[in-house]
Symmetry: C2
Subunit: 363 residues, 2 copies
Amino acid sequence: MSVKVDSCVSPTKPCEEQTPVEEYFFEGAEKLLELWFGNRNAKTGSLRLIPRYELDAMLDIARCKVLQSAHTGHIDSYVLSESSLFVSERRLILKTCGSTRLLAALPIIIELAKSYGGFDEVVSVYYSRKNFLRPDLQPEEHRSFDAEVEYLDGFFHDGHAYCMGSLKQDCWYLYTYHVPQPVTKVADHTLEILMTDLDEDVLHTFTKDACENGKDCTERAGINRIVPKGTVIHEELFEPCGYSMNAFLPDSDHYATIHVTPEKEFSFASFETNQDLVCLYKQTKEVLNCFRPGKLLMTVFANDGSSKGRDAQQQLWDRELPGYKRTNVQFVRLETETLVYAHFVRKDGTESSSDEDDGALSE
Amino acid sequence: MSVKVDSCVSPTKPCEEQTPVEEYFFEGAEKLLELWFGNRNAKTGSLRLIPRYELDAMLDIARCKVLQSAHTGHIDSYVLSESSLFVSERRLILKTCGSTRLLAALPIIIELAKSYGGFDEVVSVYYSRKNFLRPDLQPEEHRSFDAEVEYLDGFFHDGHAYCMGSLKQDCWYLYTYHVPQPVTKVADHTLEILMTDLDEDVLHTFTKDACENGKDCTERAGINRIVPKGTVIHEELFEPCGYSMNAFLPDSDHYATIHVTPEKEFSFASFETNQDLVCLYKQTKEVLNCFRPGKLLMTVFANDGSSKGRDAQQQLWDRELPGYKRTNVQFVRLETETLVYAHFVRKDGTESSSDEDDGALSE
């Protein structure tokens, strides 16, 4: 295994350049794009052949930049000024928070995959996000899910668009597309946990007041307990607060990523992984122990080959999470896999009232 | 059993008074409201004590009227100029199509349930509908689901709002509310099938050209094969086309109802039942044999006590319907029951292209 970690840009708090409004606000909830590529002639190719300066130019369009990069034989991992980028042979995952313009980068990515990667088609697309707290602060193409769907439809013929959860509280939007005869993928699953109203004691850990640097923060927050043993972590602690980490397992394209917006008024943390070493349900409980959110939503995608993913889906459907009341759970059969969406509220009762103030119908 | 059927208003095609627009159009898709009532002092009461003239005044507000009524020991069944009304002891079901103002009748119903029925609270609410083909032709409060949710929130604290299915094709909206400590209900389930693009040969049956009257139409269309043996049917064939039927089983509050809009340009048929005599999955296949829709969406609600409902949900999740491709299926755990939503497209391939023209994002 060869792992190379570079910290190439001095970290600055991503939100500083994005808040021309009176009251300070940062949208922690990310836009998440996962693309799988293929070519009709079944020749091989690799997204990892795209040169770094081209990735940088693409990220410029999305309005974020690389802070750190790390590389193994299977994956290129980038910690960004706003979240993360993972590039493996056929899959690219771009996750950006704040008021970034993620979708503006889509045509560039497709072009780079063609020119350098040798791929002539996008075989699978997943674009998803939680409802924004402040959609009015987003760039125009991200201000509503309808607008995002319209934009994506310009690239993909016959994609599907869903809204999971109660439209009146937190909800989660998903756009998916697959080529009509989907390529049989290997066993695959993705777990994502999006958390709000984090415990105040937890929030302080993710500040420069409490921790010296990212490594220090990872340890104090107990984040090493979340990821499987043997995981390599590279992370960033922002000035004056905020945290991002990318993690990967040495001998596969398995990754994990965590992003924390620790301001009390709009606290947010996300966890995402495709690892298959430890039970996803148990891992979820570790994540909740770490962040103690007032509310959370979870999604688990799993295809037929993924028994770990299927197990996690079944547990989410059958069981509650300790200390949390499940307010919603939905099981969806998609074209090439199944998806479980669930929403939880902490049981101590202090959060239930805040639900009413969400005003999630605003978008 | 005592069954009394009155035909009290001469049938006129409901849409004639509703089309001030150039091109003739009728919105077959119904708005559906199901309300369950209770009282905090656990005294008995009955919605069936509401006098007929009060129901008529309530329906006036909703912009429809009674064409036929029938009464058993358990249920009052009304065929309306636009769909149906069923009143049993604690449950009222109002289903109205066209450009009716169903929700405008809600405060009247609540008031009548109090004054005459002796009920001081609504214990369960289900408001649902398919996406409209022409939302612009609806009265203001029904023009978008957001508007409907806002209206319903004026009556019920902490209701939930969902959108099932792909937002880009047919989808189905649901608003539910239950009192915080739900009354334990008896075994209950509801199957609804909403069909569009009906087979042209089928459409002709539901016209005065083909059939003399409602009874004739029921027989020729094979509708008696859909309902369990022993079901009493009262029906209406509209001039020049269109069909409505209410059916009920003698010794329970079980009902079935079918409404058909047979114009080729915007054909629509709906089936709804809570019967527990025959397998719901088999009954669904009978309904499809009868109407041969190009597209359909189905919902099955079932509470813990309903094994028939649970079986139908599991079959919908596990199996395809013969001759149809399932494009979407979702399993949802609600507060007091589960719900399965599924969408199907006929396999002969002629419908898939029409999907793209739906423009369902318009609302």
